[in-house]
Amino acid sequence: MAARKIRVLVAKPGLDGHDRGARVIARGLRDAGMEVVYTGLHQTAEQVVQAAIQEDVDVVGLSILSGAHLTFFPRVTELLREAGAGDIVVIGGGTIPQADIRKLKENGWAREIFTPGTSLETIAAWIQANVKA
């Protein structure tokens, strides 16, 4: 039996429209052999969690360039736990300062944050090493 592919939801929560990074990463992860679903823009935390559960994903990647990361990461993580989907790995990227990255990781709101300049290979390798399909 062929191994199940890792399933990833790439999501754009909030009002921010900067989707270049989200799209490039969605495509890069697909080319790295993963099943990728992209939510499109302007999603609420509730919509992101609903999509994650519906699509039965292993990873949720949040892309936030609007400074609202300390709002959305906690909300998405908490809503996933409430829905009994706390095993889904939450990662993210965007314009997120180092101090906030520490805060997100220490509080368990994000497993890893990839900042500008990270290669697609690095992100794909991290997912393959840390996520079981």
């Binding site: 009002l15 799209r23 300049g117």
Partner: protein
Amino acid sequence: MSQDGCKDLEKDYQAWRAARSGLSDRPASFDTVSGLPVRDLYTPADLAGFDYSRDLGFPGQYPYTRGVQMNMYRGRLWTMRQFAGFATAAESNARYKFLLQRGTTGLSVAFDMPTIMGYDSDHPRSYGEVGRVGVAIDSLADMETLFRDIPLDRVSTSMTINAPAAVIWAMYIACGEKQGVPSEKLTGTIQNDILKEYIAQKSWIFPPEPSMRLITDIFAFAADHVPRWNTVSISGYHIREAGSTAAQELAFTLADGFAYVEAGIKAGLDVDRFAPRLSFFFNSHIDFFEEIAKMRAARRIWARHMKEKYGAKDPRSLLCRFHTQTAGCSLTAQQPENNVVRTAYEALAAVLAGTQSLHTNSLDEVLALPTEKAVQIALRTQQIIAHETGAANVIDPLAGSYFVESLTNQMEEQAEAYFAEIEKRGGVIAAIEQNFFQQEIADAAYRYQRAIDSGQRIVVGVNEFVDPDENLDIELLAIDPAVERDQVERLRRLRATRDNLRVRETLDDLRKAAAGTANLMPFILAAVRAYATEGEIIQVFREVFGEYREKPVF
């Protein structure tokens, strides 16, 4: 140069190529940042058929390749316009005064995401986003605070607002009224470019058709009441930031411009009544010559199409006047001090290409909103170019360069090929609905990322010359979460103290007008003067016009 002369030269060039073939090239891809291959040397043979008068002319004269004014920077330097705005209207007001004291010559307002998307600060969708990426403006009261002690008849103000542009512009006009400045004296720009929102920046609210109506209503209102206002800033900046090539930025931006011209004509306006107030906004990316060629080509293409295709008679209708911002997407989070250098080259390209105004990015903008110190360095970069380098002494100094002229021609050819493709697809709005632009840009962005990941393209500090001990903890501007609470409280007080009966009347009138065909600006102004909020006005439009949804592609 004659055709025969060109042929001889091309032969000589090939002979020279053969002679130097023993000298191997270093292993690099010799192409522009857009992936356009360039030759090792350009000669007059690259300009076969070049006609000075037809292709360049003189500054301030058709086809305006060399500049839109006769005197260019000999008369007046470009406007140094730094985009700024954060947190509350009061804090942004203080930043504007800081910039004006240090020699900035025009204001440029950044709004927060809820304002950009037409939500009040107390809307559930605004939670966590108030005052983050720009200033929160809910009503005329906030606008009055934003420009307190800044006389609106003496500054020009550019406002980066699109889907709700009519509402924010009405607030600015009403703010002028409160200061005793008649609308005829106001100068500035609203971005108001909804087409590039669908294409690249993605801050849309309504579907294309009612959005275009709001824009043509603004054209007509401005022509009658705010004649010195730039009604649209047709923007390539965001198209480029979303990952496009230089040629795509040029082509898609001008195609959007032509679509607005056609919409204005279709709405019954004479082209010369509104076209002189159209302005442009380009990105200055890191590939120096390509950017200069792009901007020179833009002026020539716009003038030719406006004259020949749209029959404009007023010379002002032919002018591609533009603002430039250096490329945010060229900056790196790694070794951020290097961003000062990148920005300086990009700014120099814009100046050599004859920009009318310029924003230089701050070194820390890839990480957060800029600190005051970083903003000052960015502004000083422009002042050094203006006053120390000599770059502003001679008009269009690179004209006649075999390379620059050849690249300018190439940019024009690529743009024309895109115009033909867009027309075949049924025009800009049809092409948006077919995801044409979005897919072209996504493809280019992905190619670019791949080229960096593979090391084919070097970005200093990112994939080469990396500092392994780098500490990215630099001083950043943080927005206090109390900003949101305070703004929500101010809004609550406004709703409690204004004449709510009057607000309801004006919103009812607006709803009726929106369902009909009248120009909406007077109705929006009436609601704004009554202190109806942005969110309340936009909500009326959401109900009448509906909301846009995109089919996400990657």
